[in-house]
């Protein structure tokens, strides 16, 4: 069951109706059961994994809290146990084959050196491990929970509440990565049901669906073929492929988050934001504050600051930045191109920090950077860097990513992607989305606006009309097969 499927459109209203017609324990049971049903609709057996991990973390947190008063020396071992268990699980499911294949390659390389280049000596088959959906997200939530309990927060005493936190279906598969301190007050006392709540939740769901179905999926179906190994691309095709993925990944991931946040709002629960117009960032640090914000904050709190953060020397600070971004890259997937993506982001952040210090050295340079032109130059430069690094991120391996980037400059001049772009109507959908976005911003600022004296702008009527239009446009743009969200693989 994915958010953009018919099943989910049936599932969500049922859960919402039941949610607002139950109270207390029954409501909690409903959230937990619905979340497990949602999760187990993929592969039922992994529901057991989630259940076991939830119970284990809940018990460890309770034990840590108890040991804080009775035997503080046990606190650290318990945290270590929890971290090893959680990260071990993540490593087993996500990185086993990566480590095995690289270890095998390394042994072969050394063996070949010793034997004078006689070829493969070791040949291990990879293990048949299927990545449980959303494991990267819920493991990070467990790690946050244990570390915060270690730091002194009070644990969640009720197993049901903790299970609802860890399995909450709107954020279960691809975030946002929640903090239990923010989530629990909403779970215990949801926002009251109102037309405003329904309007905001519904609008978020429609917006997310539109971004996913009408923009991300059609673009994905056009550019996916460009990222196949050994494809010969013309320069315009290669550039459009990179730009296409840049748009696709934003619309896909932010679309997922919007649907998740909208679904949670219909249950009276506000999930954290994950995106704040990241492609309008003026520099790379700004980008990582606006892109996948919940991951950025997690990395800051549980990797960057524990490593020493910025309160240290310049070299140590650069190291911390670099290691944090390598961890970010590796979190996205078990492949070298993700590691390279992380390295490039780390290097980019270090260089940008140096550049910022350089600008601060001169008042005229600083004022130039803060001028409108400087800001737009910053936005363009950041976007270009992100497009380049996202190309490597998207490609199945490094050579393919480099091939696409090289084709920007050395490819032929044909533009074969134009035909599918024109046929799909995706440019129209992008334009309509921008128009709606600008209109809604304008309406927010000018609530008194009137179209004609006799036709008052009745907001609910306009809202429903825009939903109707969005629904029909999504049907027009629909793919023949529902496409999974890009971030599901992480």
């Amino acid at each position: 069951m994915i958010f953009s499927s018919l099943q989910y459109l049936l599932f969500l209203p049922i859960v919402v109706v039941l949610f607002w017609n139950t109270r207390g324990a029954a409501r909690l049971w409903l959230v937990v059961l619905a979340s497990y049903f949602f999760y187990m609709s993929w592969l039922p057996v992994y529901g057991i994994l989630l259940l076991v991990m939830t119970t284990a973390n809940w018990l460890i947190a309770l034990a840590m809290d108890r040991s804080r008063q009775k035997n503080p020396s046990l606190l650290k071992p318990l945290l270590t146990l929890g971290l090893i268990g959680n990260l071990g699980c993540l490593c087993y499911y996500k990185y086993t084959n990566f480590f095995l294949s690289n270890f095998c390659s390394a042994i072969n390389w050394f063996g070949a050196q010793l034997h004078g280049g006689s070829g493969d000596i070791v040949s291990w088959t990879t293990m048949n491990v299927m990545l449980p959906l959303g494991i990267s997200f819920f493991v990070f939530e467990f790690v946050h929970y244990l570390v915060d309990i270690y730091r002194g927060d009070k644990p969640i005493s009720s197993w049901m509440e903790f299970a609802a936190f860890s399995a909450f279906f709107p954020s279960q598969i691809a975030g946002p990565i929640k903090r239990f301190q923010d989530f629990m007050p909403f779970l215990r006392g949801p926002l009251p049901w109102s037309s405003a709540l329904f309007a905001e939740g519904g609008a978020l769901i429609m917006q997310g669906m539109f971004k996913k179905v009408a923009i991300a999926d059609p673009i994905g179906s056009i550019v996916n073929g460009c990222f196949a190994p050994h494809v010969v691309l013309s320069s315009p095709d290669a550039m459009v492929a990179s730009l296409g993925f840049f748009i696709q990944v934003y619309c896909d991931f932010s679309g997922y988050t919007d649907i998740g946040r909208g679904s949670a709002l219909l249950l009276g629960i506000r999930l954290p934001e994950n995106f704040q117009l990241p492609y309008l960032s003026v520099d790379l640090a700004d980008f990582w504050r606006r892109w996948h914000m919940s991951l950025g904050l997690w990395l800051r709190d549980y990797v960057y600051i524990p490593l020493g953060g910025s309160r240290c020397g310049q070299i140590a600070n650069s190291r911390n930045l670099f290691l944090t971004m390598v961890a970010c890259g590796l979190w996205h997937g078990a492949a070298w191109h993700y590691v390279i993506f992380g390295c490039l982001q780390g290097i980019g952040l270090i260089v940008q920090r140096q550049w910022r210090d350089f600008l601060r050295s001169s008042a005229s340079l600083q004022s130039a950077a803060k001028s409108a032109l400087g800001q737009w130059a910053g936005i363009a430069g950041t976007a270009l860097f992100i497009i380049v690094t996202f190309t490597i991120f998207r490609a199945p391996d490094m050579p393919t990513g480099l091939n696409v980037l090289a084709s920007w400059f050395v490819g032929s001049s044909g533009f074969s992607l134009w035909s599918p772009i024109a046929k799909s109507g995706v440019l129209w959908f992008c334009g309509i989305y921008m128009l709606f976005w600008l209109l809604s911003e304008a309406l927010k600022k000018h609530r008194q606006i009137r179209l004609f004296d006799s036709v008052p702008l009745y907001p609910a009527a306009i809202r429903f009309a825009s939903w109707t239009a969005a629904t029909f446009l999504m049907i027009a743009a629909r793919p023949t097969i529902a496409t999974p969200f890009v971030y599901f693989q992480f």
Binding site: P420, S440, R447, Y458, A460, A470, A476, A477, T480
Partner: protein
């Protein structure tokens, strides 16, 4: 549609926009009027966008009481699933640009009948195998070869038989080519369900009696709530791009999404859903998957023939009756079979209610697995009648008649999870029946599937999208069928001389 995610929920301030100029609050009627007004604006906006973007022209079917469904007339079609092509259906539902009913001088006309494999809306018309063959063969003996594509998605042999009599012959073809595709023979008995392309007449042929074609399932379906709704909205389906989109989505989902089918079933025929559920529960209680079996038998309501000649009730001796029971028995674990074959002849919306001269009482028993041999005999008899009937029509109109098959993905390179056999017969089994009918009745037969099977496993997937043929597949069929068509046309010339 776009909402700030930064805003906290707070009570909406009293908005002056909710109060009209007069100062009094909006009456419910006015609210509804405003609501409808904006809905209309939204719909017109979407229609305009779809028009500009060239999207939404996806509905192709109009309904017909005898044949089930036909192509719409005077309709632009933009096909986006699998490949991409834009076509225009003329005032007879034909796709060929500039086609006239009157045959031009110095022209060989080849009419090809079939289902979506022939129709090929997903590739431009000039890339369909027929057009490729016509291009390659022209001029033949100083004459231009003109290819007329009568392929219609979902058509069974029965529908092709009716189409031949009703539409094809007026074009005065020199050669009629019927393309057999996988499951065509089963579709001659398929019961109508929520899928529009399953609304078909069916054919039965009992020993010693003429072929009977029953349009009762179609008429029943058209009188059902869903059928009435579809007919009532036919103007919108034809002219509105939104309606076109919804129709295409409905067709896609009713074919592929069991959730959607259940959803539609619950709303359109809740009684049937309850009955199906009862059967399923009864089956589950008895342990293991088993299905109720329906078959024709004299019962409380005996057969009521429309004419003495078309009386299936007097069909054959006891042995035949026994064979028929066997034939209409579903395999013990094959739900698709029981639904499609058995349901077809006894479905309450289908043949079960005898109002069209063929009153057949459904009877329910439990039975053994399908006897493939008996079933094959029944199918062979029916196909023979249909093919020979078509040939007779062609002969009466001065045309030659031939059969060819098309390559099928489920046989050559099946996708994981794709069913490769049906009613215990795979495509090879079906083709054996078709081949034997052609041999027995001396109907020219072209076996494209056999040629496709000689391709390497690596090359086979290149012939197909998910189901239908890619331009490469069309080219392959043209390569295989071209000599066959050329020989038939050449023989015709020599015969006429």
């Amino acid at each position: 549609m776009v909402t700030s995610t930064r805003e906290r929920i707070k009570p909406a301030p009293p908005s002056p926009t909710r109060v009209p100029a007069g100062g009094s609050p909006l009456s419910p009627l006015r609210k509804i009027a405003i609501f409808l007004f904006w809905q209309l604006i939204a719909i017109l906006f979407v229609e305009a966008i779809l028009f500009c973007a060239g999207l939404g022209e996806e509905e192709i079917f109009s309904f017909d009481q005898a044949i089930g469904f036909t192509h719409m007339h005077n309709k632009r079609v933009t096909w986006r699933s699998e490949g991409f092509a834009q076509s225009y259906l003329d005032n007879d539902g034909m796709r060929e640009p500039g086609l006239t009913i009157a045959k031009p001088a110095n022209t060989y006309r080849v009419a090809v009948l079939g289902d979506s494999m022939v129709e090929s809306f997903h590739v431009p018309i000039d890339q369909t195998f027929g057009e490729i063959i016509a291009r390659r063969l022209s001029p033949l003996d100083g004459k231009r070869v003109q290819w007329l594509n009568f392929g219609t998605s979902g058509y069974s042999t029965v529908q092709e038989y009716l189409q031949l009599k009703r539409q094809v012959m007026k074009y005065k073809p020199d050669l009629v080519l019927v393309c057999y595709n996988s499951r065509d023979m089963f579709e001659n008995w398929t019961a109508p369900d929520e899928v529009i392309t399953n609304v078909r007449p069916y054919a039965v042929h009992f020993p010693g009696h003429p072929l009977v074609i029953v349009d009762q399932p179609v008429r029943r379906w058209l009188r059902s709530p869903r059928g009435q709704f579809m007919r009532a909205t036919s103007w919108f389906r034809h002219h509105s791009r939104i309606a076109g989109l919804l129709a295409a989505l409905d067709l896609e989902m009713s074919q592929h999404d069991p959730w959607y089918r259940t959803f539609v079933d619950v709303f359109s025929s809740p009684k049937k859903v309850v009955e199906d559920l009862k059967v399923a529960i009864a089956g589950a209680q008895k342990g293991g998957p088993s299905f109720k079996i329906n078959f024709f038998e004299d019962g409380p309501k005996p057969f009521q023939p429309a004419s003495p000649g078309a009386n299936p009730a007097s069909a054959g001796a006891a042995a035949d009756k026994s064979a028929m029971k066997q034939a209409f028995v579903s395999a013990s674990n094959n739900s698709a079979l029981s639904k499609t074959i058995i349901g077809s002849v006894t479905n309450p919306q289908g043949a079960g209610a005898g109002q069209n001269g063929v009153g057949m009482t459904p009877h329910v028993v439990r039975g053994p697995s399908l006897d493939k041999t008996v079933y094959r005999q029944l199918v062979t008899r029916m196909l023979t009648s249909l093919f020979t009937g078509m040939r007779q029509t062609c002969t009466e109109n001065g045309a030659d008649f031939a059969i060819m098959n098309v390559p099928v993905r489920s046989q050559l390179c099946p996708i994981l999870g794709c069913e490769t056999s049906f009613a215990g017969m795979d495509y090879d089994d079906e083709l054996q029946v078709v081949r034997s009918v052609c041999e027995t009745n001396k109907i020219p037969y072209c076996d494209v599937e056999q040629s496709a099977e000689m391709l390497s496993a690596r090359k086979r997937p290149e012939l197909f999208y998910a189901v239908h043929m890619t331009p490469k597949g069309q080219e392959f069929v043209a390569d295989c069928a071209q000599p066959f068509v050329r020989d038939l046309l050449a023989n015709r010339k020599s015969a006429l001389q």
